[in-house]
Subunit: 383 residues, 2 copies
């Protein structure tokens, strides 16, 4: 019942527990590549099919094609390189045909890669293509600079012993989310990407979208984010209390996406949509400045890029929204499209403003935050 | 900028005023066909392009094809026969090749038809195909029975001297609506069909839809309706006050559709959508039991029929909604899809209930009607 996975088949590079234990032992004798948290996220997503049809880290041909024409070499739209950076020392130990152990930041074996190619990254070109800037103040650019400079390509296997998301009970794989969607009989499902607490503005947009489809996947990203973003566990409590009190249980799924934020704006919006297609969603909410940071992207860039991507190939459809606020004229949530209010008739707080209020022990107004969510945030900031 | 008219070209069978006056005079010597109000509506809509690509009343080939396979003979989806019924006496005076004067219910010349064919209707078949019933208690079926039994086919011209809608200032032709859409730069426009006063439930659905497109056409049907429907002038005042107070001016157009209601449920939903495509809309709101009456249609029939119609050919997309209500749990408008409420936590009144309240001089609650709308209705029922 859910939409076909991207490229047609849901990839599964996980390994049964017994076999995984044996492979982990065997990994002791292999060349090693140490992963950052963000590469660990990519490895996980590759393994559970979140990045289908990719079965492993990209070779130079796909890498070139993604940078140059926002497609895989085979033609499928793709916006963000999924690459395995290695140091020169790590790369030297690796000839094509060898298998390397992929080591998580905690030192444990996370997986294997069957190396098919080792190549040089194109640092400047990658940054300007993907992030639209080579400025190392950009957190995505900085993250690229911190790794490399060699990329290792090849199919992967997932061997990490525990859940890697921090939310074992909430980390449904694409296959599991698809099962839930099928059980509920949803023909259409919209995904909501978030790396922030959930306020009434988000609730409003989600519910607008839900009115037009069968189900909603609230799909917070819980991989690496900026240090000033609200920690994932606090956000998770916010999602839980708002869903409990304000949403009908049979129309919503809450699960996490253990991806790292790239802050690549428009290109990341496409990437977020592709992952959600693999999780079984037909629609994807794209707000203003989706996946943006600072002033690197125009307000609508992440919405407009969808017009440049082959719509039928992408398959998942964007649902584009403006910023929402409480409108004192109509006494309800709205956006500038649906409200006759002037700027001083709108109740809206920026993320920075909310954090300042919370730091001072002040409660966000009920027009902005559901009280149950405000309680969670007040408590988190008291700690 | 607006979507291409249905079939590619916006039909215009109106005539310049001088020429129209001359043709009206000449009509005195022609055979005559008296029109009912509902056929007058079809003649008008044919003439201004609301029924493009039709340039006149259907011949037997299109009629057959519409009844049998919900398409014009040429293949374009079409759901409702647009036919010119004539009495045996009227038909006798008409040979193919003759032009007949079409006489409005007020006795004035409304237009001309260049008769190309005169054929017998298929009474039972038409009723069961279009209305799903042959029960003469159905108001659409009763209207078919009241006319005929011969149908006259051929291209038309529009000669009526005055506006026929009752709302000369609000009756924008498809070409005019398209101009306004283009002026505003809307790439996508959703139409809202209504034959009822506008309450908060309608406002909610319209605004949900509007969040996803550029503009909203509030397009009340002001042709013939059932005697127990609220009169069009009262409804118009409701639309005007709610738009004035609760909608942003630059995102909404209010214009009338001088079509008669057929109460043909699913087939009429398609018909309503096709007309709105001709008025320049890309999306069309379809609620539960759209264009229904009594218990002749299933709740979702009018939404589901869209799945059986060639989507690309139709071009205009349905936006399907559930019934909306005030949810006392979340303190906002919602539907069962977006609210965790039980039935007794919802504030909703049926049309019948509202009319009963108004008849008793009672004010509908603020959760159901905007106070400005309630004022209009209270006043109308005091008269």
């Amino acid at each position: 019942m859910p939409i076909e996975p991207y490229g047609g088949t849901l990839v599964d590079r996980t390994v049964a527990p017994d076999e995984a234990a044996a492979l982990r032992e065997g990994a002791a004798d292999m060349p090693r590549i140490r992963l950052s948290d963000r590469v660990l996220s990519d490895l996980y997503l590759l393994s559970v099919g979140g990045l289908s049809p990719l079965t492993g880290f990209m070779g130079s041909e796909d890498y070139e094609s993604v940078l140059g024409r926002t497609r895989l070499a085979g033609g499928l739209p793709w916006s963000v390189p999924i690459v395995l950076p290695a140091t020169p020392e790590e790369a030297t130990a690796l000839a094509p045909g060898r298998t390397a152990a992929l080591i998580a930041p905690d030192g444990r074996v996370a997986g294997l890669v069957d190396a098919e190619e080792v190549y040089d990254r194109q640092l400047e070109r990658e940054c300007s293509s993907v992030y639209g800037t080579t400025d190392t103040d950009h957190p995505g650019v900085a993250a690229v600079h911190a790794l490399g400079p060699r990329y290792v390509a090849g199919p992967v296997r997932w061997l990490y012993e525990d859940d890697m998301s921090g939310f074992p009970d909430r980390n449904l794989t694409p296959a599991k989310v698809r099962e839930r969607i099928a059980e509920r009989g949803w023909r259409t499902t919209v995904a909501f990407q978030t790396r922030n607490p959930i306020h009434r503005a988000h609730e409003y947009i989600q519910k607008c979208a839900l009115e037009l489809v069968d189900g909603l996947l609230v799909h917070p990203l819980v991989g690496e984010t900026k240090p000033d973003d609200v920690p994932p566990d606090v956000r998770m409590r916010c999602y839980e209390v708002i869903l409990e009190h304000y949403y009908p249980e049979d129309r919503v799924l809450l699960s996490v996406l253990p991806a790292a934020m790239r802050y690549a704006g428009p290109r990341e919006a496409i990437h977020h949509a592709i992952m959600r297609r693999n999780y079984g969603c037909t629609h994807f909410i794209v707000g203003r400045d989706h996946a943006g940071v600072g002033n690197y992207y125009g307000t609508y860039d992440a919405q407009e890029i969808f017009e440049t991507i082959d719509r039928d190939a992408l398959g998942i459809r964007p649902m584009k929204f403006e910023h929402a606020f409480w409108c004192t004229v109509t006494g309800q949530m709205a956006t500038a499209k649906t409200s006759p209010s002037g700027p001083d008739q709108r109740i809206f707080l920026s993320g920075t403003k909310v954090r300042e209020m919370l730091a001072r022990g002040e409660r966000p107004p009920a027009e902005f935050s559901r009280p149950e969510v405000a309680d969670v945030l007040m408590e988190a900031y008291r700690e």
